[in-house]
Every structure is written in C-alpha cells, then in structure tokens.
C-alpha cells in the first residue's frame, strides 16, 4: 500500500478489517450502551456507512482509530437520543464519565490490547500458549510449572519457543 496517497479500501481489505475488528468494536460499544444486540447494530451501521461512503485512509495506522472513534460517537449519539430516555438503564457509569476522552482511550486500549494478545497466543502451539497465558496472568515460572505439571526448565523452553515465534509473527500482528 502506498503510504503517501489516500487509499480507498478494496472489498478484500474491508473484509479483513471487519474480521479483525468486529468483535472488539462490539465490546467497546457495549462499554457505552451495555446491550450486546444494540452494540452489534451500532457496529454494523458504522461498517455500512464506512463502505458506502468509501472512506479513504491516509495510512493504515489510522484505521483502528477511525473505527473505534466512529463506534464511540454512534454509541454516545444513542445514549443522548430520545430512544435512551434513561441512561442509567443502559450504563453503570453516568453520561459525564462516558463522554470523557480518557474513558474512551482506557477502554479501547484494554479491548485492543486483549485482542492482540489473543491473536498472538493463537499462533503458538497449545502448551506454549498455556505457559504464556499464565505468564501474562503474572504467574512465576515456578507457579506455571506446578500448574502445568511440568519442570521449570520446560516452562523456560516453552517461553523461548514463544518469543522466537512471536518475533517472527510480529509483523503480521502489527507489533513492532
């Protein structure tokens, strides 16, 4: 993709973005409207508009931001609309908090980072992934060894394999 000119997405790229972001975007919408079916409608509507309007992207790094922002705005529009007479029935937070940029950034990063972790672990062999999962959950090597019923050295081996694989895959994941 040429980084210098705006880029109109092909159908295939659009489908890839959908596959990568759909679930995460539903989760962020749900953080606002606290209703999963409604969240799905919001996200679908954002994708439909993005496709119909052929939104051009200056560069690939803006894509996540665009979709997260669009979903946030649409969710807030809903909460402010007459359809949601009583925001409290939708969300545990008050509208003031939900409208802050820091709430948005915090929740979006949680969801996006978690989704990257899941995608990375999916690329690893089962045992490796399990060791890494426990490691992320702050288990020490000793605790992982006990939990998985293997030796500490095997845990270290699993981790080594994981680092090696993930370094190779980092381009694919968009991790630099």
């Amino acid at each position: 993709m040429d980084q210098n000119k705006t880029h109109e997405l092909t159908m295939k790229e659009f489908e890839n973005i959908f596959n990568r972001l759909y679930e995460s975007l539903c989760l962020i919408a749900n953080k606002y409207v606290n209703d999963l079916a409604l969240s799905e409608d919001i996200v679908q509507d954002v994708f439909i508009k993005a496709w119909e309007n052929k939104v051009p992207f200056k560069n690939k790094n803006k894509i996540e931001g665009f979709f997260y922002t669009a979903v946030k705005n649409k969710s807030l529009d809903f909460l402010r609309s007459k359809y949601a007479k009583d925001v409290e029935t939708y969300s545990s937070e008050d509208l003031e908090t939900l409208q802050t940029e820091s709430y948005f950034l915090r929740e979006a990063v949680i969801i996006e980072a978690s989704s990257l972790v899941e995608r990375a672990l999916e690329l690893l062999p089962d045992k490796c992934a399990e060791a890494m999962r426990l490691s992320i959950e702050s288990y020490t090597n000793k605790e992982i060894a006990d939990e998985m019923d293997i030796s500490v050295n095997t845990v270290k081996d699993h981790k080594k394999v994981a680092y090696k694989k993930l370094r190779k895959m980092s381009g694919y994941l968009g991790i630099t």
């Binding site: 295939k12 679908q44 978690s114 980092s170």
Partner: protein, 394 residues
C-alpha cells in the same frame, strides 16, 4: 496525535511488553492517561476473570451474520436508514435476503397459483468429473471420498499434494501430465492445485491444469469454458514464476492475487473481475492491466473491451460462497445463471418478462419454487409452470 491515534501504539506497546515478560511496562510517554488509568488497563488485560468476561461476550456475537447484513444492505438508494434498528431483533433476518426493485412496468393482474405438474428441478450440489492423464474418468460427488497417488477429494474439493522441489525437477524432464476437472450443470467444486493455488468452479465449467507445474516456467492453466474464481499462490513462493489462465479468447497473467473469470460458451462476453492484487489481460495482440474492483468485459465477436468499476466485488463472486446476487440484471440473464445451477431449461412464453430488471439475492440452497414465488410476488411475472426439467415463464 489525537486520542484515537494512540489506541494502536499504546496497545501494541502493552502487548509487546507482556509477551516479552517485562516486569514493568513504561507507559510514561502516554501522558494523557492517569496513573489509575494505566493500572486499570494493565489489570483488565491480564486478569483472568476479565478475560473470561470478554470471551463470553464475544461468543454471543454473530460475526458471519453481521458480515452478511453489512454487505447485503449495500446501497438502499439514498433513503436514510432510520433508527428502527434500535429496536433490536429486527437485525436483518437472512431467511430471504430479498430486495426486489422493479424498474419496468408493473402488472396489476391477479396472481394465479402456479401450476407445477411434476417438478424434477433439483437444487445444485457439489459434483464434478475428474479426467486423468490417461483419459480415465472419476466421478466426484458430495459425501464421496476419492484418494490416489497425490490427489485427495472429500467430495467438495479436490486437493493436489503440494509439489516438492524434486517433483519440479522431474516435471521438467518429463512431459507435463494434465488433468481436467469438469463441473456439470447443477454442480460446483473446488480445487487446490499442486502450487497451492485455489480455484472455485461454478456450474457448467471446465478447467485443465498440470498435475505438477514445471518449477521454472510460467504456471499455466486453461479455463476451457465456464466460470472460475482464482486465489493464486504468490509467485514469490514459486521462484517468481507467473501464473496464467488461458481460454479461447484471452489470457490473464498474474503474480499472486484473487480474481474471477466468467467465460460461458453461450455468452458473447468474457468477464474478468479483479478482487485483489494486479492482473494483465492479454487478448489478440493487446494488453490491459486491471486494478482491484475493476471488471474487464471482452466481447469475443469484435474483440472490443469495456472496463467498469464494481462497487461490491463480493456480490460479483458470491456464487463461490453459496449465494446468488444479481444487481440490475434482466430476468433473462438471471434465468440463464439459474438454469446452470438448477440444471433446467427456461422458456419465456411472455417475451415482455425477459427484459424486466431485478436486484435480487438469495442462497443457492433455495429451491427453484422459493425463488420463483418471490419473483411472482413482486408482480413481475404473471405465472410460471414447471414440467420435468423445464420452467415456463408466463
């Protein structure tokens, strides 16, 4: 950079640190976040219960259905989509993805009940005939398993073992052996060639290809007739060798990409649609390159070409995903396509109906009567009648 631009770098930074098992994660550069926010983020990403909460929510989502709703709803003219969808549950039920737009004159006559004498028109299925290099034929059918030297089929797809370097060398010294896959009317099939290229074949189509490609020369296959979708294995994996698809009137040259060719014997045009990547179409002595979302239409009588932009290539090639999508097509054209999948003959008793224009989509698993009754319901045909394998439009 505004906040939304920070989502990606911040997430990537956190994940990289987590995966590298770094004890402390330095988020100081992201000063828009308070210390509490940073703690909250790290806790939520790494906490087991939080993770399970997210997974549970994700499991309730229906991604496939969502994609269909997105792609199916494309352009409902300029009428603004109302907020009706807030009342959940309405989310596009895809039982009948039917949006019929009638552009021609309406017929207000009462609808009679269709006469269906003896309906032998059945829905198409996975089937094909494989012709081996010695001329012998193998029938491949849904539910039937076939296995030979380097070929396996589960009845829906035929797979050629990925060729090793040694096979290439051998292929270079020997004459190349060709197999042919023929999909009859009422059939569809998939094939994975020995270089990893995937091809979807539509009803009434024939593909001729080498059992093993000569490792150093251009990979060549022939779409003898019919329609095929190609997902070509990149030339970087094959010593840079190009991939070419021949047929009677043109040749498509590719490096690694996805595209569709429609070249039926009973149609005056060959349609080449590029979904992804880049291809060059050679016809007579001329060359024409295509960009994604472009369709080249070659008239085989006068060799004139015409390039159009396709807004939604998904619809153009949806046949390989089990759907028919027709956009502003004449009933005659639609029936031609349907006659291949349902293996039927269509007679227009009412010639006026031939040129009526429709936008319609439905699953390939629908019976012919389900489709016809919707068309009839839209008042666009008076009636129809099925006898044996013949459909008569009245």
């Amino acid at each position: 950079m505004d906040n939304s631009d920070k989502i990606k770098p911040l997430s990537e930074k956190i994940v990289t640190s987590l995966l590298k098992d770094e004890t402390s994660i330095d988020l100081d550069t992201f000063n828009t976040l308070t210390e509490d926010d940073k703690k909250h983020i790290l806790f939520s990403v790494t906490n087991k219960n939080k993770r399970e909460e997210r997974l549970q929510l994700k499991n309730k989502l229906n991604k496939q259905k969502a994609w269909k709703a997105i792609i199916g709803s494309e352009k409902q003219s300029n009428t603004k989509r109302k907020m009706i969808y807030w009342y959940s549950g309405i989310a596009a039920s895809i039982i009948l993805l039917l949006s019929i737009t009638l552009l021609s004159n309406k017929n207000d006559e009462l609808i009679n009940t269709a006469i269906v004498a003896e309906n032998n028109i059945v829905i198409g299925t996975d089937k094909a005939i494989l012709t081996l290099e010695d001329g012998s034929e193998v029938r491949l059918e849904k539910g039937q398993i076939y296995q030979a030297n380097n070929i396996t089929s589960n009845g829906e797809e035929i797979i050629y073992l990925l060729a090793r370097q040694a096979d290439h060398t051998e292929a270079r010294t020997k004459e190349i052996a060709y197999n042919t896959l023929t999909v009859p009317r009422g059939g569809q099939f998939q094939i994975k060639l020995s270089d990893g290229t995937k091809v979807w074949l539509n009803s009434e189509s024939q593909l001729k290809y080498p059992v093993v490609f000569n490792g150093l020369e251009t990979r060549k296959v022939e779409l003898v007739y019919g329609e095929a979708y190609f997902d070509v294995s990149s030339s970087t994996l094959h010593n840079g060798t190009k991939f070419k698809v021949y047929n009677q009137s043109q040749e498509v040259e590719v490096l690694g990409t996805e595209f569709n060719i429609k070249a039926y014997k009973d149609e005056a045009n060959i349609y080449t649609t590029l979904v992804e990547g880049k291809v060059v179409v050679n016809y007579q002595d001329k060359k024409q390159s295509l960009e994604p979302n472009q369709q080249l239409n070659l008239n085989i009588q006068n060799n004139n070409i015409n390039i159009t932009k396709i807004d939604n290539t998904y619809k153009e090639v949806s046949w390989k995903k089990g759907e028919f999508n027709f956009k502003n097509k004449t009933l005659k054209g639609i029936m031609k396509t349907l006659s291949r999948w349902y293996d039927m003959e269509v007679i227009f008793e009412n010639k006026n109906a031939e040129d009526k224009i429709f936008t319609i989509s439905f699953q390939k698993s629908f019976s012919i009567e389900e489709i016809l009754s919707s068309i009839k319901y839209a008042n666009s045909i008076n009636d129809y009648n099925i006898k044996g394998k013949t459909l008569t439009i009245k």
